[in-house]
Symmetry: none
Subunit: 228 residues, 2 copies
DNA sequence: CGGCTGCTTGACACATATGTGACACACGCT
DNA sequence: AGCGTGTGTCACATATGTGTCAAGCAGCCG
């Protein structure tokens, strides 16, 4: 059974981005565009996790969170709060209401996915894979360790997220734009060519232990991890 | 390549509603306000699907549908008929106009979108599937991989798009102009002869793994992919 | 069999996309 | 401050793909 995630977020673009990335990682999703709708959907089917926007129309996120905590069947439901980058006070109050984690916008989707996994692991450990192997490359999300043929490889944070992103869908070609969205964050502005440099660094690191290039360049389309 | 939908509908409000919803779901659209106009547009560019109003000025929908069926290049073109009332719909069904599906007005747009997807999937799987096989040739859009009899083939971007275009309509003959529009884009100017060169390159690549020429030259008309 | 027309194909100059070392800057640590 | 690490950008080198031409073929018709 796939973990079911409720996305309570009014900005359609953000909601769709989340849906896309969550489904890509094998979650089932539903979107609630406002607080009322979120409450209705929570009554209909209790999800395994809620992504809750702080500023939600009709019923604000913090209020939704309180109600979740006060109902018996959702009292332990994991909640990740999404907040706009504002004062610390908001964060603290968010945590006081019982959110399990918070993420400030703009966020990199891989980072958010990592938080989702972390929170779910606490509640339903069996649902999330910690360790993924494709070909001779293994990525361990809990320890942030990467290895090829049993030999450890050190990666910087960006290269790690990049590999983590590729490894979700081995073989699939991602454009520079998709990689920027997924690995760097939806609205951070960096040159598309920067992706090339990081791919180059990732390649160098992965090939430092021998073996051939595990990343395929698809001219005028993007890059992909060579699948099996 | 986005699926192209022709909307033959005289009520401007309805036509615009359809256009809005279709474009939102990633289709390209054109509107024909009467039967004559629909026929003209069908000659100019064959769409992937037609939404056809029953009561169309000048040439009625049923007649347009008959003509679509009787012309070689549109004989298999999916048509969804839009009719005003349910009783009418029943009668029309009895008339066997050759439409692939019927929707009665007023319709829910989500329902219509679902029908559009369903019809396209049935008639033109190549438009909606990620991986398409025709004969012994397989094209995978997510991985940008092409193979013939399990053997990988490397194609440059243009050859890839060209093959992808052909594979949408196996057997159908495309003129150089159609190919330039569809593969290069309607706004770039390149010599029509350039198509020949790229077809040649595509042939060479596809035959590099043995097998015979999968592309047929139709003298003074164009090229087509040998279908099944 | 010409002669016409349209198609094929190798060559090539040019255009674009990608790979990569260097560098300046931003952090977090001590 | 001084250090180590990681990041994003640039400039330049390389690799790869593109469009055009022209010579040579191939089908078609009288």
């Amino acid at each position: 059974m796939k973990p079911f995630v409720l996305i309570a977020e009014d900005e359609k673009a953000v909601a769709e981005l989340l849906r896309y990335n969550l489904e890509r990682e094998g979650y089932e999703t539903a979107i609630a565009p406002d607080g009322d709708e979120a409450m209705i959907q929570l009554d209909e089917r209790v999800p395994d996790l809620v992504l809750l926007d702080w500023m939600l129309p009709k019923v604000p996120g913090i209020e939704v969170c309180r109600r979740i905590r006060s109902k018996a069947d959702t009292a332990n439901l994991p909640v990740i709060m999404l907040t706009a980058r504002t004062e610390e006070a908001d964060r603290i109050r968010g945590l006081d209401t019982g959110a399990d984690d918070y993420v400030t916008k703009p966020f990199s989707t891989t980072e958010l996915m990592a938080r989702v996994r972390a929170v779910l692991r606490r509640i339903r450990p069996a649902l999330v894979e910690d360790k993924v192997t494709v070909g001779d490359i293994t990525v361990d999300r809990t320890t942030h360790m990467v290895s090829r043929n049993q030999l450890d490889i050190h990666l910087g944070p960006t290269e790690f997220r990049l590999l983590d992103y590729f490894i979700q869908h081995p073989g699939r070609v991602f454009s520079r734009e998709q990689l920027l969205d997924g690995v760097w964050g939806s609205d951070v502005y960096v040159e598309a060519r920067t992706v090339d440099v990081h791919v180059g660094r990732l390649r160098k690191a992965l090939m430092s232990r021998g073996g051939d290039d595990p990343i395929r360049t698809v001219r005028s389309a993007g890059y992909s991890l060579r699948g099996d």
